[in-house]
Amino acid sequence: MQLGGERRHELSNLLTIALANVEAMIDGLAEPTQARLEAVADAIRRAAELIHET
């Protein structure tokens, strides 16, 4: 599987969003609010879509 440059950039960003938000909650910097958890789920979902599109 080869991901194009643009798509790879997008995928990296989505994973960074997911990881950064989860770490912020682990580190006590962010409350595990509904909105925060939705943002993580959304980033993972969009990342999965990108992979399927390839």
Binding site: R8, N13, T16, A20, E23, A24
Partner: protein
Amino acid sequence: MKPKRILVVEDEPEIAAVLREYLEREGLLVESCDRVSDALDVLARQAPDLILLDVTLKDGSGLDVLRAAALPESRIPTIMLTARSAEADRVLGLELGADDYVTKPFSPREVVARVRSVLRRTTEARSDKARAHSASVLRVGNLEIDRDFHEVRVDGYATKLTATEFKILSLLAEHPGEVFTRSHLLDSLNDTGEIYERTLDRHINNLRKKIERDPREPEHVLTVYGVGYKMSRP
């Protein structure tokens, strides 16, 4: 100590927001923007202490920001945020003067650790430089003799001295209170043999006109009658 200012250049708002939370917890001031043009505006307005720079931006390449940040007169420490695959950008960025990089997907903890490390390195390097420089500045009363820049400041204002006047003043100021005979001064100054005893007095007079409040009542370069000259003790 003044809090350090960090400029985050990142076009993904959610990433920028989490980075801000982490950096602010470290007591850092965070400013963020998502375009090359805005980043260049910030640099022109007030240089931050460090830049976190996404290399792939919507309106162009973050490397253009890096080029501006790495100019020798500003030399702002920069950490690149790049995709793991973007090796060419990373190499070019490091060659352009980036201090470090973090690959996406990154953990914000890692970014914070690298920010701290780069800030520590640059602060230490700067204070070493400042210390080395201040050792080369002699202060006597309202005079500052800057041997690195070959400049003398009177009450903070730069004054133009000739090379000979500068040498005389530095020599005397390095040993305040010590009397230099005319022949000792001439020996120390005369690499080329062009200064004679009678011209030495003229150099001293000219020097006094430039650095003394009242050249007829000198406070710095004092005449020791029948012997020579000395610098007053501060």
